[in-house]
């Protein structure tokens, strides 16, 4: 039997991707396809006074200009615009009325025979606005921030515990710091696009860039007022999304509206600049206070966050709760407030809330270590907790201590001179910093279908997405292993709303969910095969039960006695069965007795030119504990990507808003900086063995998010160690290091 789970298997879709055979949402063609181009708002707040589309309409090849005045009917109730990941509020509706909520909001859609004509004509649409005073500066709104009641898709911070105020008063050492993270945009390389095929019967087939085809399908049906069978959404390949494709985005609605208005197939691809009107990671101001004894206990934590939301929805994540979770500490308080700005609603971005919340916590911990004259790693070991501190329960598994051990050893942490500015390399100051990372091991109900044919081929399908993470490949690996087939004999189908149920792909929950889902379904296939095998004359498995057999190398084999085996093909042929099809839903029972989390220990080396402040992150070691690793190759890529993003978060990323205009000014990837190759030196990824028999049957925890958590803090802490300067607002650009 061949093991596929846990191996370094290359992507099964890799060849299709590098040869261009893999088609993305904006690449599906059909005869008669029309092309749309968005006219975007140039103000942050107000009303559309007048739209003059006459010049655009007079261009040859222009089919129509849709605005709020002439668009096809759309639902009027907020509930129709709800979706699986929507926060509370009144969701944005493109072209619904004359109201402007944010800059880059679509105000008109030009549809033409060719994309060039659409884009040209879009430049000719004249829009007059009645402008209203706007505010886009979080710092200006911080005094107006408000606390939010728990509600749908967001929870309140954990309950405070102990008596933090008294503990702070009694603490030998107190550290208090304010940490700032700016707005960041996702910037997947694939532009957001939808191709809507208007079928002959009026049904819509929508190729959309999304992390959840069924979420988009339900949303479009509700918004357009159609029956479920009238809309099919597909997304076979996604060129990165990072959370930006969790909610249905406006290009899908606009393209569908245009298709229905024109009774014609329509494609809409947004420009990079227009994508800055989709969503973002909210800026946040965080205050953390830590109180500790000289003897090595952490006695009190207070974490207060203010984050950005829009005027029409309450986007809220659990930034502060991570602080009380991670370390042994009897007293903790949390506060989370929202500040409304005239921007679109934020959404999840890689490790939402943890990338930012843990950044602040782990910088604060470093500052506490300095105050206590303790090694930062030693501090974390002293505060180590084997129980989830927020809910006081054990973890299904927690191998963070092993992450610290293996990570620090690979990095050479024991050679660190604790004194800031103590290590030099010529003109550069050298700094070493570290941080912990934590994320949730989530799993969600999912369904998977397997069709096994007598020729030894299986097709496994689920409506989930592969947003570049390698879902196709791990689905094939799990199915091949569970069915005892060669990997090449497994075909994977995903990204189609007609396939078995899947939630959106996000939160690092799909790997665990879909793998266990496939295992469940494979179990049903095995049972069916056993039923057939038993019916064969003189069956070697006549007395076997389903639990006692396994599938390997095209055989149904007894686990007790490998000589008791029946050929799958023969069993099927004997009963005249040429295919076995099983579809099973899998749910994950969680009795609440254990916390499910992934962990990381990140060690970073920076070199900082002392005079000029130029920073190089010359080395990062990331040790990860995330349960069973399905594919060490794609998993490593995931973590490297997270570390690179962490470098960007620490040093580069910042959405620049001109608050006079309430407008993002660096809305392109030349001026919105992310790391380039030159910024990335050595990244060493270590997967710590972590067996977890509790979290789910396969022991998988997922690792899409954990790679970024802690990285920015490790780098910020390394910069402090190098320079003696503590920069608490990201990104740490060289001007912030000038003395």
């Amino acid at each position: 039997m061949t093991n596929y789970i846990g191996t370094a298997t290359s992507r099964i879709d890799g060849r299709a991707k590098v040869t261009g055979e893999a088609k993305y949402a904006g690449e599906f063609n059909i005869t008669g396809l029309a092309h749309a181009s968005v006219v975007a708002s140039t103000i942050a707040k107000g009303r559309i006074a007048r739209i003059d589309a006459s010049a655009a309409l007079s261009v040859e090849g222009v089919l129509d200009v849709l605005t709020h005045l002439n668009r096809p009917p759309m639902a009027s109730a907020d509930s129709a615009y709800d979706d699986d990941t929507a926060p509370e509020g009144s969701p944005f509706r493109p072209l619904y009325n004359d109201r402007i909520w944010f800059n880059f909001q679509p105000v008109a859609l030009v549809v033409a025979e060719k994309p060039e004509i659409a884009r040209f004509a879009a430049a000719l649409v004249r829009v007059e606005y009645e402008e209203q005073a706007h505010v886009t500066d979080l710092h200006r709104q911080r005094d107006k921030a408000f606390a939010l009641e728990p509600g749908k898709n967001h929870s309140a911070p954990p309950k405070p515990r102990g008596t933090a105020e008294q503990a702070f008063a009694a603490a030998a050492v107190r550290h208090r710091g304010e940490y700032y993270v700016p707005i960041e945009h996702h910037n997947p390389i694939e532009l957001f696009a939808s191709t809507v095929i208007f079928e002959s019967d009026g049904k819509l087939t929508v190729y959309d860039k999304t992390q959840g085809v069924q979420n988009v399908q339900r949303y479009l049906c509700n918004v357009l007022g159609t029956e479920p069978e009238e809309v099919r959404v597909m997304s076979p390949f996604v060129g990165g999304a990072f959370g930006s494709g969790l909610r249905p985005q406006f290009q899908a609605v606009l393209a569908a509206l245009a298709a229905r208005a024109l009774k014609r197939s329509v494609r809409l691809a947004l420009t990079r600049q227009q994508m800055y009107g989709l969503s973002y990671r909210p800026a946040m101001i965080q205050q953390i206070e830590l109180g500790a004894s000289a003897g090595g206990t952490l006695d009190a934590i207070a974490h207060d966050a203010i984050t950005v939301t829009s005027q029409y929805e309450d986007f809220h994540r659990q930034e502060t709760g991570w602080s009380g979770l991670l370390y042994r500490c009897a007293n903790a308080t949390y506060a989370h407030r929202l500040a409304r700005l005239d921007l679109e609603t934020p959404c999840d971005m890689r490790a939402p809330s943890a990338a930012t919340g843990v950044y602040a916590l782990e910088c604060a911990m470093d500052e506490l270590a300095v105050a206590l004259k303790l090694d930062p790693l030693e501090l974390r070991l002293r505060y180590y907790s084997d129980r989830d501190q927020n809910t006081d329960r054990p973890y299904s598994s927690k191998s963070l201590r092993e992450c610290y051990r293996q990570g620090s050893q690979a990095f050479g942490w024991d050679k660190r001179n604790p004194e800031p500015r103590s290590t030099r390399d010529g003109t550069e100051l050298v700094g070493w910093g570290m941080a912990s990372g934590v994320w949730e091991a989530l799993q969600v109900p999912i369904a998977a279908r397997i069709v096994l044919t007598a020729n030894g081929h299986a097709e496994v399908s689920c409506a989930t997405s592969d947003i570049g993470t390698g879902t196709y490949t791990i689905m094939a690996q799990v199915a091949a292993e569970m069915l005892g087939l060669p990997l090449d004999n497994v075909t994977v189908k995903l990204g189609d709303s007609t396939l078995p149920q899947s939630p959106v792909e996000g939160g690092s929950w799909i790997a665990a969910s879909v793998s266990n889902g496939i295992a469940t379904t494979a179990g049903a296939v095995r049972e069916e095969l056993l039923r057939l095998a038993k019916q064969m004359p003189n069956s070697a498995l006549a007395d076997a039960t389903a639990d006692e057999v396994t599938l390997a190398d095209g055989m149904l084999v007894s686990k007790r006695d490998a000589t008791c085996a029946v050929s799958i093909a023969e069993a099927m042929r004997h009963r005249g069965v040429d295919r076995i099809e099983q579809e099973k839903s899998t749910t994950f029972d969680d009795d609440g007795s254990h916390a499910h989390n992934t962990h990381s220990a990140v060690f970073a080396e920076v070199k900082v030119d002392e005079e000029l402040g130029v920073i190089r992150v010359t080395r990062v070691v990331s040790a990860i504990a995330a349960g069973r690793i399905l594919n060490t190759k794609t998993a490593r890529s995931q973590i490297i990507g997270g570390v690179v993003w962490g470098i960007g978060m620490a040093l580069h990323e910042e959405t620049l808003i001109d608050h006079n205009f309430g407008r993002i000014m660096n809305a392109n990837i030349a001026e919105y900086h992310v790391p380039v190759n030159a910024d990335v030196y050595d990244i060493d990824v270590i997967f710590v063995d972590e067996l977890d028999a509790i979290v789910n049957p396969l022991g998988i925890k997922g690792l899409g998010e954990i790679g970024i958590v802690g990285v920015a803090a490790a780098i910020a802490n390394a910069i402090y160690h190098a320079t003696g300067m503590r920069v608490r607002d990201l990104p740490i650009t060289l001007d912030k290091l000038q003395r």
Binding site: L651, M665, P675, A678
Partner: protein, 338 residues
Amino acid sequence: MINFQYVRATDVADAVHRIAADPAATFIAGGSNLIDLMKYDVERPSRLIDITRLPLKSVEETADGGLRIGALVSNSDLAYHPLIAARYPLLASAILAGASAQLRNMASTGGNLLQRTRCYYFYDTATPCNKREPGSGCSAISGLNRMHAILGTSEACIATHPSDMCVALAALDARVHAAGPAGARTIAFSDFHRLPENTPERDTNLQPNEIVTAVELPARGFAANYTYLKIRDRLSYAFALVSVAAALELQGDTIIEARLALGGVAHKPWRDPTAEAALREQAPSQATFNRAADVFLRDAKAFGHNAFKINLAHRAIVRALIQAAAGTPQSQSDKKIR
């Protein structure tokens, strides 16, 4: 993006004739800046006159020991040209500090001279910008100006010239050859780019009906003591916050000739004869370099976000001069600053 016509020029005379016939037309060579600007509706040419087939692609030695670089020599070809690498390594280094390999393959010598500012507001037609729309106002002065100029600014414009190559050309005292309806002429590099004053819409003194045909380098190449030091927000593929082209000629322990040009600080590559004079006849030392930097930046003025640039420029000048004097120029591939 606005529709346009496309024509191909057959020779320089044809190009000049075509541009004279249509004042709203523009030349296109590599297009690495122009196409972006057209997509953003900032440039709206009626017609693109493609000059990529003109015979301006050679690098030739001149009678006085210099080089004449055709306007269509790509940035990549120029950076790796053996004569440039051997005699003008400052120019090669500056080119390799800019953009990416792909862009340098497309970008031409003449086009590099004519690239436009990266000021956010210039690129966004939703905001006022005097350079894009004269008289509409400067949004950067009271807005996001971290990237903006500290020298030679005006109330109308605080944009910077984005080129790296031009900073080296300024330091090397290059001359620009242009052709127009009245014939050919030569423009000293320091006279080529303009300060914004009240006409920020004009970046250069090239007339609208003229075409750049070549850039000429004088014999003096400073191949022994030079550096191009570029300070930016990431280690590659970002415009300069401050860049310094420094070139020295030493005789024993005395600087007999000094060139100092800065990028990222002004509407044009910025040179200062007084600062260079402060280096001449001096021994290379930290004190000498500090004095020169003081002089260079004596009129520097910041606008808020870019206040750090004055101090940064000072330190970068000193560092660059140390590198140049020591004969240890900054590598553009090893990102550690020497």
